[in-house]
């Protein structure tokens, strides 16, 4: 019954999601953590976009001859989420710059050591 893509996109998204989450948890470098966070967020964007797809549907444009089109709502939602993601990344990176100025390092373990001293 299920044709080629089937649930495969969802599997891909889940793998991507867990990769992102793993990077956030496992890496001690503050920049890498933000990269992981981005991968994690992007996988969620893909999740929304995947569920918007209507089989055989075109892009949701109002034009003659277009009867079946994909659901545009998730696209719009994700547009908002992308903006939020960009803001989060910018703020995160700005904090990393200031942490680097204050501590001279962006490695989690070294920061912990410096914090224990004070």
């Amino acid at each position: 019954m299920e044709q080629f893509p089937g649930l495969i996109p969802y599997w891909v998204i889940m793998v991507l999601m867990m990769m992102g989450l793993y990077i956030v948890i496992a890496h001690g470098n503050l920049i890498k953590k933000i990269v992981g966070l981005n991968v994690f967020q992007v996988s969620v964007f893909l999740l929304y976009i995947t569920m918007a797809k209507v089989e055989g549907g075109t892009a949701p444009i109002l034009a003659e001859g277009i009867k079946l089109y994909s659901n545009p709502l998730p696209h719009v939602l994700i547009l908002t989420a992308i903006v939020v993601g960009v803001a989060t990344t910018a703020l995160g990176l700005a904090l990393v710059v200031r942490i680097h100025n204050a501590y001279g390092t962006i490695e989690d373990e070294e920061i912990d050591k410096l914090e224990d001293q004070t």
Partner: protein, 493 residues
């Protein structure tokens, strides 16, 4: 005319006022502007609460687009109550903030501070008022992003790492939340909370819905710092500027608790899923652990601000415990504790902010002998501390009384005993500070300390006064809490 647009004004006012701060830039003028705005928000929320109590649910369609396609603001007794908490704390924090900001934040950045404080308030109010699950996420991020910035204003460099860690945890939480919303949308095709609450029961407990509930719970659990997801909270509260700690401790976690109530009771309230997945039992276990771990860790903190942060974890435990009972008394106790804890903890952190302002630190050694130097500030600290313990005639007692009652109604003697034992732990950590304040000689720095300025004392006593007043005469708060609990469980079960 204006009356019917109050729901949107509640959000638009602080949201639009925030960028204006960026234009004004002058520190004093910005402060006056921000204070004015928070003073305007408070009567709006009170008017909404009065209207809701009298006439029932208010529905406001944004741009005239009907739900479920448009976004609607839906105000019932519960979120009207939370709106009042948030705006009241905002209105008390602003006058208080001026003096602490003078010493804690460079003049060139003061206008940014107030911009962020207003944005944070707008975000929190938005989470509370909205009836749309995705809109809730957007406001969640508005409030979170501004609170990361607010925390990073702290003088200590550890404020930066605290803000960074909160950013990572907070973003994971918010992302979990949208995964949950996405799965719900996938299963139902709707984002409107009220609409979802009607569609989801029809679907039964399908796998997608179960996964959605799991993601939503974990995501919001991170935001409200429910044990074991609390790691960001102690440092964030400890190193943030005084005014920010007051504001966040009294509002941010409360609003997250509110969001969780919405998800578990409104959206999933009528689904058998709560029997398939014992969410309530899990909440109860985590709540009890949070109560004990929070209180125990608090007893050996040297930094008093950190001690109160851990005590907050315990208090969040009480709120969640109330919710986990799933009875009207239990849920009402949880809801009333939202208000009670906001008043007590806000007042306590304000007293500490005054100590930091006069003495320059909030470790135990800084507070030695301050009982004579700053009698009013210290008296407010003691009154707030008594509230944390749950001494009669304070709001803490009211919350615990109803929590114990709810436990006994269910026949859970053990839980009732645990609540009492946990209060005894609060005696220990509050007493440690009281002992230092009144029975130790003043340290060198404390010798020169004077009573806190009136602009800090008055807001502190407003909150502490509220925590005593509503402890003696709790009918108003309890009426609202019980009405809200009945409304939640009435169409739930």
């Amino acid at each position: 005319m204006i009356a019917q647009h109050l729901p949107i004004l509640q959000i638009v006012l602080p949201l639009m006022a925030a960028p204006v701060c960026m234009v004004i830039r002058h520190p004093q003028v910005v402060w006056i502007w921000a204070t004015l705005i928070t003073f305007l928000c408070l009567p709006i929320s009170i008017a909404l609460l009065v209207q809701v109590m009298a006439e029932g649910v208010i529905v406001y369609e944004l741009g005239g687009w009907a739900a479920p396609w448009g976004i609607e603001y839906r105000i019932d007794k519960l979120n009207a109550f939370v709106l009042v908490i948030v705006t009241a704390i905002g209105a008390v924090v602003m006058p208080y903030a001026r003096r602490t900001v003078d010493t804690e934040i460079p003049v060139s950045r003061v206008y940014l501070f107030y911009t962020m404080l207003l944005l944070c308030e707008a975000g929190l109010l938005g989470i509370t008022i909205t009836g749309d699950a995705f809109n809730l996420f957007v406001f969640l991020e508005v409030s979170s992003l501004s609170s990361y910035v607010l925390i990073s204003f702290g003088k200590d460099r550890r404020a930066l790492t605290a803000a960074y860690r909160y950013l990572i945890m907070g973003t994971i939480g918010a992302t979990f939340y949208i995964i949950g919303v996405g799965l719900m949308y996938n299963a139902t095709g709707s984002l409107n909370i009220y609409d979802l609450s009607k569609i989801i029961p029809e679907l039964g407990g399908s796998r997608t819905i179960q996964a959605a509930l799991a993601f939503l719970t974990v995501g919001l659990g991170l935001k409200l710092a429910l044990f074991p997801m609390h790691m960001w909270l102690p440092n964030a509260y400890t190193y943030a500027p005084s005014a920010v700690t007051v504001f966040l401790a009294a509002t941010a976690t409360k609003v997250a608790v509110y969001a969780l109530i919405r998800v578990t009771y409104t959206i999933f309230g009528t689904v058998d899923i709560l029997e398939i997945v014992p969410v309530q039992d899990m909440f109860m276990v985590m709540a009890v652990i949070a109560m004990f771990v929070g209180s125990l860790v608090a007893t050996y903190q040297v930094n008093v601000k950190r001690m109160l942060a851990y005590s907050s974890l315990a208090q969040i435990g009480y709120m969640m415990l109330g919710l986990s009972f799933d009875t009207i008394t239990g849920v009402a106790a949880g809801i009333v504790h939202l208000f009670n804890h906001a008043a007590m903890k806000g007042g306590l952190f304000m007293a500490l902010g005054a100590v930091a302002y006069r003495v320059g630190g909030v470790r135990l050694e800084h507070m030695a002998g301050l009982g004579k130097k700053m009698p009013w500030t210290m008296a407010s600290f003691v009154a707030g501390g008594l509230g944390l313990i749950g001494v009669p005639l304070t709001v803490g007692f009211v919350s615990k009384w109803y929590l114990v009652q709810a436990a006994l109604e269910k026949g859970w003697w053990m839980i009732a005993v645990l609540i009492v034992v946990c209060s005894l732990l609060a005696v220990i950590y509050v007493w440690r500070v009281v002992e230092v304040i009144y029975f130790l000689p003043a340290s060198k720095v404390a010798q020169e300390a004077k009573e806190a300025p009136l602009s800090m004392l008055i807001p502190t006593w407003v909150l502490i006064g509220a925590s005593i007043y509503f402890g003696i005469d709790a009918t108003t708060t309890l009426d609202v809490a019980f009405a809200a609990a009945r409304a939640l469980l009435g169409d739930g079960g």
